[in-house]
């Protein structure tokens, strides 16, 4: 294989992943999706590390990616705990809910127009039933607590 061309291809691909993650992070407002986009930027960087590791024939790039994976796991645990806590406090994952944390002189973001949900987006995934339908015990149902 052409090592230099391989390096170039991997660098460009890592750049593409980083840029897509960046665009998603800047545009999306769901806290979880923003965090996924940050992870994607991390993956783009990992790809470039691996490519350089192979190009130079030493292990340092791969070692860095090992630690990136470890740190990403820590980061995901902390960030998801934070997101869950913020959700319990605010009842929404919208990052704009926390815009009171902005600088003092900046104007508040106000949504001009919230588009209605399209009818085709209102479709939910359907699970195909598998196996036989269990027999319903009326006695059991009467004891079951209704929420």
């Amino acid at each position: 294989m052409n090592e230099t061309a391989l390096l170039q291809n991997y660098l460009v691909l890592g750049g593409v992943l980083f840029a897509l993650g960046l665009a998603g992070f800047l545009v999306r407002r769901n806290a979880i999706v923003m965090f996924l986009c940050a992870e994607m930027m991390l993956q783009g960087v990992s790809l470039t590390f691996i490519a350089w590791s192979r190009f130079h024939g030493n292990w340092d790039g791969q070692m860095l990616v090992v630690f990136i994976v470890a740190v990403a796991a820590c980061e995901a645990a902390i960030a998801l705990a934070l997101i869950l806590m913020l959700y319990q406090r605010s009842g929404t994952l919208d990052i704009a809910f926390w815009q009171n944390l902005r600088e003092e002189h900046l104007p508040a973001h106000v949504d001009r127009r919230i588009p209605e949900e399209q009818p085709e987006d209102r479709a939910w995934p359907v699970l195909t039933p598998a196996g036989r339908i269990p027999e319903v015990d009326l006695e059991q149902i009467s004891h079951r607590r209704t929420l």
Binding site: E3, Y10, A23, R28, M40, A72, A81, L93, D94, I114
Partner: protein, 313 residues
């Protein structure tokens, strides 16, 4: 890659023409024609790819109708193909006479996995439901794991699948289903306004264009090691990696282990701290009362717990 294929096709046809001309023309003519064809196409590919990519990502990200997003996806894919045309073939090596079947296989595999990775990445940032976003991100990770495998990082390939796609994405799905169980939310349909999607996609396209332009400067660079003498690609990959990890980077391993422990404790602490203070105080007082009165007095049952489920007794 394909631009070099185009050039090769051009050189083949040029040489065929040359042979038809009773082999009179020197091979230099074919070479100049190849260069001429390549250089006429080459300057427009990268700006075109950037433009198409920016338009496509903008169409996908600005929260339009589904048709607009599909068109945006197609345009962005076209931009990615153009970007691929600007890249050099990973199999076309200078010392080999021509590409063997194995090289062709590797090349096809590379572009397959690159395509899967980028398409799934585009879907991750544009899907309206965070569940679909997480699933698409898992697909991206599978593509990345394949790319790791292709370039000789076998351990990291498996680690990516196991740790990322197996653990982190599943954790994401748990949180999505805990936090957003009521269905589609309005904030998945809108952005910060009209300008941010445009600016973000333009920034992304400029970044990609910059990276692709800068990597062109590596063109004449000879690799420090050949593929045969590369220690990363040598036999017993795991043994070498483990030796490197636990000798040169031993302190870093210890620090990473400590970090994992701290993150574990921190995540639990955050979740406990984040509860409603009234509930925390009530639980605390109840526990105090049960410890003072001994185990004789059963704790009052909480709403969603069976009686006596306090955990202290």
């Amino acid at each position: 890659m394909t631009s070099s294929v185009l050039c090769r096709v051009a050189s083949f046809s040029a040489s065929a023409v040359a042979q038809a001309d009773a082999a009179s023309s020197p091979p230099a003519k074919a070479a100049t024609e190849q260069v001429a064809l390549g250089s006429t196409l080459e300057p427009y590919l990268l700006p075109g790819a950037m433009l198409l990519g920016a338009i496509g990502v903008w169409l996908m990200l600005s929260r339009l109708h589904r048709t607009g997003r599909v068109i945006g996806g197609v345009v962005a894919l076209l931009g990615f193909v153009l970007l691929g045309l600007t890249q050099h073939s990973i199999t076309h090596s200078a010392d080999a006479a021509g590409a063997s079947y194995e090289d062709l296989f590797v090349s096809v595999l590379y572009w397959l996995m690159a395509g899967v990775t980028v398409i799934a990445a585009g879907a991750t940032i544009t899907m309206r439901s965070p569940v679909y976003s997480a699933v698409c991100f898992a697909t991206t990770l599978l593509g990345i794991a394949g790319l790791f495998l292709l370039t000789g990082a076998q351990f990291l390939s498996i680690a990516t699948v196991a740790v990322y796609a197996g653990a982190i994405v599943v954790m994401f799905l748990f949180v999505v289903m805990l936090a957003q169980s009521e269905g589609h939310a309005y904030y998945d349909r809108i952005s910060w306004g009209r300008l941010p999607p445009l600016a973000a996609s333009a920034a992304a396209a400029l970044f990609i264009g910059g990276v692709a332009y800068l990597t062109e400067s590596l063109n004449g660079l000879a690799a420090p090691v050949t593929a045969n003498a590369n220690p990363v690609l040598a036999e017993a990959h795991m043994a070498h990696l483990g030796r490197e990890l636990f000798s040169t980077h031993l302190i870093a391993v210890e620090i990473a282990g400590t970090l994992l422990l701290v993150a574990l404790v921190g995540a639990i602490a955050i979740v406990i701290q984040g509860r409603d203070p009234a509930i925390v105080r009530r639980d605390y007082e109840r526990n105090e009362r049960t410890t003072q009165d001994g185990a004789a007095q059963p704790a009052p049952a909480r709403e969603l717990q069976p009686a006596g489920g306090n955990g202290r007794e």
